[in-house]
């Protein structure tokens, strides 16, 4: 059912995105939210990589997470691969071009696509909107849930190509969903992902992102979640791959009683750069949020954390707690961290804190004094530091894979 005609709404959206990008260009370090992440090299490579068209039938595939009852959706080099995906997709789930989506679900396109993240969000979102080839769009009906977690894999198997993954989740009242976005690759690529999640009253989403791109890849991802009355979101974003990665999560606690529990983990070694940020807006009374972000950096890795919590004037009785802890395993590793609270309501309970340090030498000596060798003792402490964030993940395979990635982190003597 490929329709040749471009849908008018989609055409307008994409044209506007392209225009916006042509005017503003790639984000520069002059922008506050891109201050530490310089994408000039990506910008130089981008036109060629965008024009490199990967073959449609590449054989490589990712090392899949073992997730019981998963509904798997496989993308390779930005293209949907139905033969590698779940044989039957649940009703309400569509994978196709924006035009196909517009034909099947015009309301979704008109009211939700590009409403949380649009061309004004950043140049990267504009590029995604202009060039995304296919979107995963789903509606979870009222009081319903899928039979298992939605497991989306984005895998890069053709070198020097680009992809623009796009996800749109529409959760109706009191529905439930667990979604896992898993990025990995065998070759250097540019992956520029955008995810929008709407949670109507009482809906509950668990959103997990695991990023294990190739060591010479660029990975940029933005997620935006809107939570209506009593809706809840549990999120964990884990970035442990790519040469340069930036993840930005924005959450709008729009309805009274909405709740967010957001976790983030950054792992990097060598001279890699990972930028992770979260922007939470409390826009209704009695909303609660907890943000916990941790970084583990080795060698000459560079980390960036920015956490901003905004409490608007009407968001009385807000409870928010943001913590950021960073472990620097080598002298050359570095992190720029900035937790921010912006509070315009007067009856709120908000806290934030940030600590950065090396492995606890007393703890290390304690383990050595029990006969555990230095390498194992250090691994144990590093794993423990990450484990505290991973224990709440309802998909154990994600925590296990992350711990495996940690084992592979190279750190010499501190």
């Amino acid at each position: 059912m490929h329709s040749a005609a471009k849908n008018a709404a989609v055409l307008a959206l994409q044209q506007q995105a392209l225009e916006s990008f042509v005017n503003a260009g790639f984000p520069t370090t002059r922008l506050e939210s891109w201050k530490y992440t310089d994408v000039r090299k990506l910008a130089a490579a981008y036109p060629d990589w965008l024009n490199n068209i990967p073959p449609v039938d590449t054989a490589g595939q990712p090392e899949l997470l073992d997730i019981p009852n998963a509904i798997h959706i496989a993308f390779v080099d930005g293209k949907f691969r139905p033969e590698r995906s779940a044989r039957t997709l649940p009703s309400g789930l569509l994978v196709g071009s924006l035009d196909e989506l517009a034909e099947a679900e015009p309301d979704l396109v008109n009211t939700q696509l590009g409403k949380l993240l649009n061309a004004n969000s950043s140049g990267m979102v504009a590029l995604n909107t202009a060039f995304t080839e296919s979107i995963i769009a789903l509606t979870v009906p009222e009081n319903a849930s899928f039979d298992g977690p939605l497991y989306i894999t984005h895998y890069s198997s053709t070198a020097e190509t680009s992809s623009h993954p796009r996800l749109l989740v529409n959760m109706q009242a009191n529905s439930k969903l667990t979604v896992v976005e898993h990025f990995s690759g065998a070759v250097p690529a540019i992956v520029n992902s955008v995810s929008e999640v709407y949670c109507a009253s009482g809906a509950a989403v668990s959103y997990y992102k695991l990023q294990q791109e190739h060591a010479d890849s660029w990975h940029l991802a933005e997620q935006s979640i809107r939570l209506e009355h009593q809706a809840t979101a549990n999120t964990t974003t884990i970035d442990c791959g790519a040469k340069l990665a930036r993840n930005q999560l924005t959450v709008d606690l729009a309805g009274e009683g909405a709740y967010l529990n957001a976790n983030g983990l950054l792992l990097a070694d060598a001279a890699r750069h990972i930028d992770s940020r979260i922007n939470v807006e409390h826009n209704a009374p009695n909303t609660r949020s907890r943000e916990r972000y941790r970084a583990i950096l080795a060698d000459k890795a560079r980390g960036v954390f920015n956490g901003r919590i905004l409490v608007n004037q009407n968001a009385q009785k807000t409870v928010a707690e943001l913590t950021n802890r960073n472990l620097l395993l080598n002298k050359g590793a570095e992190i720029d961290t900035k937790p921010e609270l912006e509070i315009y309501a007067d009856d709120v309970k908000c806290a934030h804190g940030s600590t950065t340090g090396q492995l606890d030498q007393n703890a290390l000596f304690y383990l050595l004094a029990r006969g555990i060798d230095k390498r194992e003792a250090r691994n144990l402490l590093v794993r423990a530091f990450a484990a505290e964030l991973l224990t709440g993940i309802s998909v154990p395979a994600i925590a296990e894979r992350t711990q495996t990635a940690l084992q592979g982190l190279s750190f010499g003597d501190t």
Binding site: F365, L368, A369, G371
Partner: protein, 251 residues
């Protein structure tokens, strides 16, 4: 002889704390080192265990016929040396049971034994935990995480019971314990006395030695052992305090 310390000098942060200490411990013996605060007791304990930021500037330590100072902290532990910490460290995210298993298997591997069977290990660990009157639930918790002072000390002796060292240095294990906890700890140590295993008890007070009978008592002051004797020396200290003994020693 299990351990021989000869003319040991140790500096911490550029300051000499141990200044020519001599001590010999035979297999099966229990020695107590007593001394006022700042005399170098804990420095000695941590030096024996191999703390890297303590600098040995002179002397020798021979353990089981080998140069202990050439061994790293973890090698010493695998060679059967155990330090019961004065201030046990909290390590959230590493469970007590995981630490014990890793520690036990490290020792077994070093002596050419295979890893312990999981079922056998749990039975063994539960038995030792009961001996130390530790709740089973604590096994799954993070190492010393949220433990009271007394629980931490009991956990140290529990770890010793599981690891079955040849030589245990207990650094002020009695400090901060109420009388019931002290009895549990002393009982744990006494059960480990088998005529072969040796102990070095480091303590400020005579109290512990009422429950664990030492073969030898030494007084440490100013980084040296200034007097040695049998268990009656501890009572003498209790009666007259350190000042008298130190004055006599200096005279």
């Amino acid at each position: 002889m299990l351990l021989e310390i000869k003319n040991l000098h140790v500096s911490v942060g550029g300051t000499e704390i141990i200044k020519g200490l001599n001590l010999a411990i035979n297999a099966g013996e229990v020695h107590a080192i007593m001394g006022p605060n700042g005399s170098g007791k804990s420095t000695l304990a941590q030096t024996l265990a191999g703390r890297a930021d303590f600098t040995v500037t002179g002397g020798a330590i021979i353990y089981k016929g080998e140069n202990l100072l050439e061994m790293e902290a973890d090698e010493r532990a695998r060679a059967g040396l155990f330090l019961g910490f004065q201030y046990p460290v909290e390590i959230p995210g590493v469970s007590n049971v995981y630490l014990l298993k890793a520690a036990l298997n490290a020792r077994r591997k070093a002596s050419g034994q295979p890893e312990i069977d999981s079922v056998e290990f749990m039975r063994f660990v539960r038995e030792k935990a009961a001996l130390m009157e530790l709740d089973q639930k604590f096994l799954a918790r993070g190492v010393n995480e949220g433990f009271s002072g007394g629980e931490k000390k009991r956990n140290e002796i529990f770890q010793m019971a599981v690891l079955e060292p040849d030589f245990a240095v207990l650094d002020e294990t009695d400090s901060g314990l109420d009388i019931d906890a002290l009895k549990v700890v002393a009982n744990g140590v006494n059960k480990q006395r088998d005529g072969k295993r040796s102990f070095l008890l480091i303590t400020h007070y005579q109290r512990l030695l009422g429950y664990i009978q030492p073969d030898h008592v030494h007084v440490l002051a100013g980084g040296q052992i200034v007097r040695s004797g049998d268990k009656s020396l501890a009572l003498e200290l209790e009666e007259h305090g350190y000042d008298d003994i130190l004055a006599t020693a200096k005279a």
